[in-house]
């Protein structure tokens, strides 16, 4: 356990260390923000320092923590649901040619349907509460993950499938030793884009349907014409998303896909 945690820290550390270039571009972004804010004035665009100051104030007063937790809970619940259901169904659909052909038009409809339309339906079905944002997130993320899992299964090298049959691998072994290691390289990018999607969708759903969460807080700050607070909430939102993606998913991806780097670097 302790060793796993240590490995985890090392993996995250390596990843962050490799991120100096990204930090530099983030710095440039902040500089442009600062310059623009100085030109436009605080009512239209507060400076990064003001936004962070307001955010700090929100944390200090105890207002930010619970709202972020509520939003994170909803986003992760919807995201988790779609990861579970989407990955499993996508894998299953990828194994069968018929199933993937049948799934294609349905997925096209799901991808094409704007999330706001789902939100309206969800409001009618679930009312104001957790159900609406969770459902909207789930239904928006589901097709992305489903397609990722399906593509991954479909693109597995037929030659390796023959090897699996020749050596008499059981269904379980085929899944864990042959299919999954290949499919994760399709699943992970899909999970990461779905995670980003879930964070955007949850705020939109909260803005229109709930009394708490970052979305609802944004609605309040908008009605008070409080640009600094709006920016503070947006920073909180993006910050949480970045933290989850770069501290959790990326190191995990690097670990699972380590064979790729070894294979390409040492030959």
């Amino acid at each position: 356990m302790k060793r796993a945690a240590g490995d985890w820290l090392t993996a995250s550390g390596h990843y962050l260390w490799s991120g100096w270039g990204s930090l530099a571009s983030l710095g440039i972004f902040l500089a442009i923000w600062e310059l623009t804010a100085q030109q436009l004035g605080p009512l239209i665009l507060p400076t990064p320092i003001e936004a962070l100051g307001t955010l700090h104030g929100l944390f200090a007063s105890g207002a930010a923590g619970p709202e972020i937790a509520v939003t994170a809970r909803r986003a992760l619940a919807g995201f988790g649901l779609s990861v579970g259901v989407g990955s499993l169904l996508g894998l299953a659909a990828g194994v069968s040619m018929t199933a993937s052909m049948m799934a294609r038009p349905i997925i096209t409809v799901l991808v094409g349907m704007p999330p706001i339309a789902w939100l309206i339906l969800a409001l009618l079905w679930f009312g104001a509460g957790d159900g609406t944002p969770i459902f909207t997130v789930f239904i928006a993320c589901f097709p992305i993950i489903f397609v990722g899992a399906m593509q991954g299964t479909r693109t597995l090298d037929g030659q390796l499938k023959e090897v699996a049959r020749m050596f008499g691998l059981s269904t379980w072994m085929k899944l864990t030793d042959v299919y999954l290691p290949h499919v994760v390289s399709y699943l992970f990018p899909a999970w990461i884009s779905a995670l980003g999607m879930s964070w955007k969708i949850v705020v939109m759903a909260e803005l229109l349907s709930t009394e708490d969460g970052i979305g609802a807080a944004l609605a309040v700050s908008r009605s008070h014409l409080d640009t600094a607070a709006s920016m503070a909430w947006i920073v909180a939102l993006v910050g949480t998303l970045l933290a989850i993606e770069y501290l959790l998913l990326e190191p995990l991806k690097r670990r699972v896909e380590s064979w790729r780097e070894f294979a390409s670097s040492s030959n």
């Binding site: 030659q159 390796l160 023959e162 090897v163 049959r165 020749m166 050596f167 008499g168 691998l169 059981s170 072994m173 030793d177 042959v178 290691p181 290949h182 064979w259 070894f262 294979a263 390409s264 040492s266 030959n267």
Partner: protein
Amino acid sequence: MLEDIALNVGEGEAVALVGPSGCGKTTLLNLAAGLLTPWEGSIASSFARPAMMFQQPRLLPWKRTLANIGLGLKACGVARAERDRQAAGLAARMGLTADDLAKYPGALSGGMQSRAALARAFAVSPDLLLLDEAFSALDIGLKSELYALLAGERTAHGSAVLMITHDLMEAVRLADRILVMSGSPGRIVAEHRVDTPVAARDEAWVFARTAEFIRWPDIRAAFALPPLEGA
């Protein structure tokens, strides 16, 4: 695609199928391996544990070499420690170092990958080994090394071999019986026994025998070579 094929491989026997590209050799081998099912006709096998080595090494790129060699053993339910031990022992005989075994296949040279693929096939102690032009892409030094390893493992386990190749010399060197196939539709047009024991076949013998072989009219016809002058 195939027509009137009657093929029988006895216990411990090495049979080589030679023929031009596209004559259906691979189809026939895949039928024997059970990877394809015939539209007509039947295939009966009393071999309990067939294993196959393909033209490409076909190692799983996400498993280290040791785990790749032990794949068949894992499928047979051999516990991890035991299969690692067996795989490492076999790999050492195949000339793979401990360092190679810890690498992913993508980091190995083509020759090392082929050794690993041969080791993976032998790991399950097959009573029938199917070789699908397994050595055709390798350099001659490596080929002769792998031939020796194959011969050694065969005598140790008494496994039968069914190999397909378009390399006559390989067939002459390794097989007890050589079947000549010709294409469209694929059928067996000739059969030749090689009675000299594999261990007694030295280079000179193999060269002489192959040269003699390639003069035979049925072989020339199967490979669409022009008839020899005065033959």
